[in-house]
Point group: D2
Chain length 152, copies 4
Amino acid sequence: MPDSDKIAAATKAQQTAEAVAAALFARDAAAQGLGILLLEVRPGFARMAMTVRPNMLNAHDICHGGFTFALADTTFAYACNNRNHVTVAAGCDIIYPAAGRLGDVLTAVAEERHLRGRSGVYDITVTSQSGEVVALMRGQSRRIEGKNVPDL
Amino acid sequence: MPDSDKIAAATKAQQTAEAVAAALFARDAAAQGLGILLLEVRPGFARMAMTVRPNMLNAHDICHGGFTFALADTTFAYACNNRNHVTVAAGCDIIYPAAGRLGDVLTAVAEERHLRGRSGVYDITVTSQSGEVVALMRGQSRRIEGKNVPDL
Amino acid sequence: MPDSDKIAAATKAQQTAEAVAAALFARDAAAQGLGILLLEVRPGFARMAMTVRPNMLNAHDICHGGFTFALADTTFAYACNNRNHVTVAAGCDIIYPAAGRLGDVLTAVAEERHLRGRSGVYDITVTSQSGEVVALMRGQSRRIEGKNVPDL
Amino acid sequence: MPDSDKIAAATKAQQTAEAVAAALFARDAAAQGLGILLLEVRPGFARMAMTVRPNMLNAHDICHGGFTFALADTTFAYACNNRNHVTVAAGCDIIYPAAGRLGDVLTAVAEERHLRGRSGVYDITVTSQSGEVVALMRGQSRRIEGKNVPDL
C-alpha cells in the first residue's frame, strides 16, 4: 500500500472511532448519569474519567467496586466498539490494588491486547489523580451483528 | 458440642449476620442509591435485588454491565462481611450469559464456596424475574482488621 | 413426556456420556501420560483423579500449578464434551487455596453451572485425599462443529 | 541517588534475578521434565520456551491446555520470584485465542504489571514460532516469608 493510502486508511479509522464514540455517548444514559467523561478515543483504545461522588461510597466509606467497575467497563466498551462493529463484553475480571475515595478523579485507559476474528481481549487500567492504580480489568469482547453508526 | 450449644451458636451467627447486614445497609449510600433491596442474609450468604432503571441502560439499550456488576458485588460484600470481620474484595470475574433490560427485577444470590484463614471464595448468580441467568460472578475476599459492628 | 420416555432419554444421555469419555480417554496422550484416572462421568459432569509425582514438583517442592491445572482442565473437558458436541475451553480462571504435595491423590469434580446455546460455564473443584480444597477453577466452554463419537 | 549508585543497584538486581532463576531451575523437576527452557530473566520479567511433544496432545490432537498453562505459569513464577522474595501464585486466569500443535515451539513472556506490598499482577503472553498468540494469562502473586537464595 502506498503511504498516501495508509494515511487515508488511518485517518478514516480515527474518524470512525470518534464518530462511534460520540454516537454511543449521546445515547449512553448510564455513562452520562455517572458523570463519566470521554477524554480520548483511537482505534481499539479509549480513555475516560469519573469523579467519585458521595452516592458512590459503600459502607466502608470507599468507592463501591461496582462504580470503579462501571468506569472500567464503559471505557472497555468504547475501545472495543469503535471500529464500528457492535461488540459486547463476554466476560471480565477485575483486581483492586487500591480503593477510590470521595472526590478522587479516576481515569481509565482501555487498550486492545488481542483481536482475532470476532473475539478480542482488552486491558483496562484505572488510576487515581495521584497515579495510584485503583483497578486492573481484563475484558473479553465478542463482536455481534450490526454497525454502531452508518459507515463513513 | 451438645445440641443445645449448636443451636445457640447457629442462632448467634444468624443474629450477627442480620445485625451486620442492617448496619452496613444503613450507611451504604451506593446500594441505597441504586435501589438495591436486601432480601435475605445468612452466615456467608446474601440475597439482594435491584430493578433496572432507565439511567442504567447503555448505548445498546441494555443494562450497563457495571450496574449488574454493582448488584452482584454488593451481594458478595454482604455475604462475606456478615460473620462480622471487615472483609474486602480482592478481585472478581464476571460472565454475562444474558443482558438485563429496562424494568427487569434482577436478583443476586451470593454463596460461600470456600473460606480458609483470611481468604474466601464466593459465587454470585444474578437472575432475572423469569429465571434467566444474567451474570455469574466469582469473587475472592480478603479479611482485614476490624469488626463491622460491636460483637453481639 | 411420559415417564418411560424420560427414562429412555436419561439412559441414552448417560450412555452417550460414557461412550464419549471412553473414546476421548483412549486417544488422550496427555491425560494418560499424567496418570489421570477417569472415575465417573454423567451428562455435564466428570470426576477424575491424579497422584502427584516427583516430576510434578516445582522449585518450592509443591505440586506445580500447571499440573493441578491440567487435572482440573482435563476434568472440565470431559464434562463439557460428554453431550457429544466437540467443545473447547474459551478461558478459565483458577484459585489455589492450598498446594498439592508429593504423593497426594488429587480428585477433580467438574459440574455444569450454566449452558446456553454454544456457551457453557463449569465449576471444577480439586481436593486432596484429606478433603482439603487445592484448587477452584471456573471454565468457559464453547461448542464448535463436530461430534466426539458417532451418535448412539 | 547518583548515577553510579543507580547503575550498581540495577546491576545487583539483575545479578539477583539471574541467581534466583538459576537456583530455582536447578531444583524445578516439573519445568525440566516438560523440557522448558529459560531464555531470559530481568527483575520482574522472564521469558521461557517449550516444544509441544506428542504426550502433550489431548484427544482433539491439540496441545492440552494444561501444558500451555504450565509453561505460562512457570514463566510467571520465574518473573515474580526473581527479586528473591519467595512468592506464590494466588490465582490466574487464562484465555486461549489459538491452540498449540505438535512440534510448535511456544514462547512465554511474563511482565510485571503491578506490584504493591506483597501483591503483584503479571501478564503472561504465549506465542508460537509464527507469532500467533496461543494464550494470554494474568496472574496474581503473593509474597510469603523467605528468600529463594541467600542475598547477594
